[in-house]
């Protein structure tokens, strides 16, 4: 397989409501990524569009609907959707287009508009549940996260404050992000712990917000990087992995995300990483809820089971710590436009590894980072390892 690099990235601001349509947001992010890569759409051989449920937009065939905005017309084009996992998975789909030799340059675009669904996207989340077993109970999406968080906390005996600390760290990190929806330089642990209980143990400030936004990255083969003299702005994709577990989520123990672990092992094998704790310099795990960052650090093999909270308490995961985690500010601080979180996962790896992260730049040298996304009914993991 050929080596593949990210050579440009772009994103829009993330907000609860944006005026632009999904197509317009896709165009803005794509145009920025192409400009950064010094390319035109005519240079692109294939386009991959990631976007989550059609019901958010109220438009079926959403891939086709968004196509013009992501530069896909009259090209090999596909829409990918793996729930929240799309944020990292679409880059994996882009990678195989280039690694296989089918394309030299691929554009990956992710978009989400969650504000169109009125009054709140919660009403369409209700349709992800099993119609026979779950829906008669009138579930709220927050319930499943509350149940997973409770299982994780209780089995390991993790104090809630070790989880709430993640929200504080990420919302503070987001202060350095120009696209952030909920940055807060002054947020305290007490603010999070004393925020409204939504579905115990989940408090209001444990949750990332619904957002509108788009993000894009340009992927190129090694030949393209050399011929176009893009080496100084290239970050290489070293390994990719993805895995899904059964939708029968009431039939498995939620204490550990086995599917994330398998996805990570697949990516690490390709990246020749056998001791992730030593060989990974920073991480962008999926953090739609604060406990998810911890859960995912354990799934990624970057923390021992039940010990990720302790690492947060000891400051190891701060931007200037030994293992910076979510230096972007994450979904908790920058926002959660499902698929478009690519901008703060893959995008952040790219910007950090090429020294373009500005105020968010990790103060010490980093060579290898891992991004991970998660989705569907607590069952999907996608992992990308990148290196400078």
């Amino acid at each position: 397989m050929r080596k593949v690099a990210v050579v440009g990235a772009g994103m829009t601001i993330f907000r609860r409501r944006l005026q632009e349509t999904g197509k317009e947001l896709s165009f803005e992010a794509s145009r920025m990524a192409l400009d950064q890569a010094k390319m035109e759409i005519s240079d692109v051989n294939a386009v991959i569009h990631g976007t989550a449920p059609d019901a958010f937009d109220g438009v079926h065939m959403k891939g086709e609907y968004l196509l013009d905005g992501s530069g896909g017309i009259r090209k090999p084009y596909m829409r990918v959707y793996t729930g929240g996992g799309t944020g990292v998975f679409s880059t994996i789909a882009g990678w195989w287009h280039v690694a296989s030799g089918l394309a030299d340059i691929a554009l990956v675009v992710n978009e989400e508009k969650m504000s169109s669904c009125q009054p709140h996207p919660q009403s369409v989340f209700a349709h992800i549940w099993d119609p026979i077993l779950d829906r008669p109970l009138k579930p709220n999406l927050v319930w499943i996260f509350a149940m997973e968080m409770n299982r994780y906390m209780t089995v390991h005996g993790i104090p809630y404050e070790d989880i709430a600390r993640v929200a504080v760290k990420n919302k503070r990190n987001a202060v350095g992000h120009p696209c952030a929806q909920l940055p807060d330089a002054n947020i305290t642990l007490e603010d999070v712990m004393n925020s409204e209980v939504m579905a115990w143990p989940v408090h209001r400030l444990d949750i990332s917000p619904p957002s509108d936004g788009a993000a894009a990255v340009v992927l190129a083969s090694e030949d393209v990087v050399r011929k176009r003299k893009l080496r100084d702005q290239a970050a290489w994709i070293k390994g990719v992995g993805w895995c899904i577990d059964s939708t029968m989520w009431t039939d498995r123990d939620l204490v550990f995300p086995e599917y994330v672990n398998r996805a990570a092992k697949m990516a690490y094998k390709q990246a020749k990483i056998d001791r992730p704790k030593r060989q990974i310099d920073f991480a962008e795990p999926y953090d739609p809820f604060d406990y998810k960052e911890l859960h995912h650090l354990e799934g990624l093999g970057l923390a021992d089971k039940g010990k990720a909270g302790l690492m947060t308490r000891e400051g190891i995961t701060e931007r200037d710590g030994k293992l910076p985690v979510c230096p972007s500010g994450g979904l908790l601080g920058v926002g959660n436009p499902i698929a478009a979180t690519m901008g703060i996962k893959i995008g952040e790896l790219y910007w950090q590894l090429t020294g373009q992260a500005g105020k968010r730049q990790i103060p010490h040298e980093v060579h290898t980072g891992v991004a991970q996304a998660w989705g569907d009914l607590m069952q999907y993991g996608s992992v990308v390892v990148m290196g400078a």
Binding site: R15, R17, E20, N140, V142, A146, V155, P178
Partner: protein
């Protein structure tokens, strides 16, 4: 380079912009209706619920009793072999105390909801359901519970034929 980009694209709107019509908006309300055929496994499962019983399917490949039942084993990837009644008791695997209803509206009296692993099924296999006859201070992971069935004439062949799971009493199960 991106660190030098000063204007990032996107125009933020406030809630009033949509509600008050200060931006151009086009509205639509889809009206989609569905009727799901419950399939082989779920049809029997729902019929048994109406009779006040829980049923699973045994797989002779992995020797597990699959609950809720399915006609094929997703691990062995072969047809399952036999119907097996399981019990209406179990243990709370996890739970939440929810102050949100299905539409994320705030409610004063919390809903106790969680996952019960069912006795007689393979380890960790269970269903989501409500808990009752206990308070938010009593409920805990590992608690032994038993189904409270609606009276036969009120049952419709639904998971709601169980009203909730209550604490198991001394001498039961």
């Amino acid at each position: 380079m991106t660190a030098r980009i000063e204007k990032w694209p996107g125009v933020e709107l406030g809630p009033k912009d949509l509600e008050g019509g200060t931006v151009t908006t086009v509205r639509s309300r889809p009206d989609a209706r569905f009727a799901w055929s419950a399939g082989e496994a779920m049809s029997r499962f729902l019929a048994e619920l109406q009779r006040g019983r829980l049923i699973g399917r045994r797989c002779d490949g992995c020797k597990r009793v699959l609950f809720p039942p399915r006609m094929f084993c997703e691990e062995c990837f072969r047809p399952t072999d036999a119907w097996v009644y399981v019990r209406d008791t179990g243990a709370i695997e996890t739970f939440s105390v929810s102050y949100l209803d299905t539409d994320a509206r705030r409610i004063a009296e919390p809903i106790l909801v969680g996952v019960v692993s069912i006795d007689g099924a393979a380890p960790k296999m269970g269903i989501m359901h409500y808990f009752g006859e206990m308070t938010k201070d009593d409920i805990r992971i590992g608690m032994r519970v038993k189904a409270v069935w609606r009276p036969p004439e009120e049952r419709t062949g639904s998971v709601l034929d169980i009203r909730h799971f209550r604490p198991l009493r001394e001498g039961e199960g």
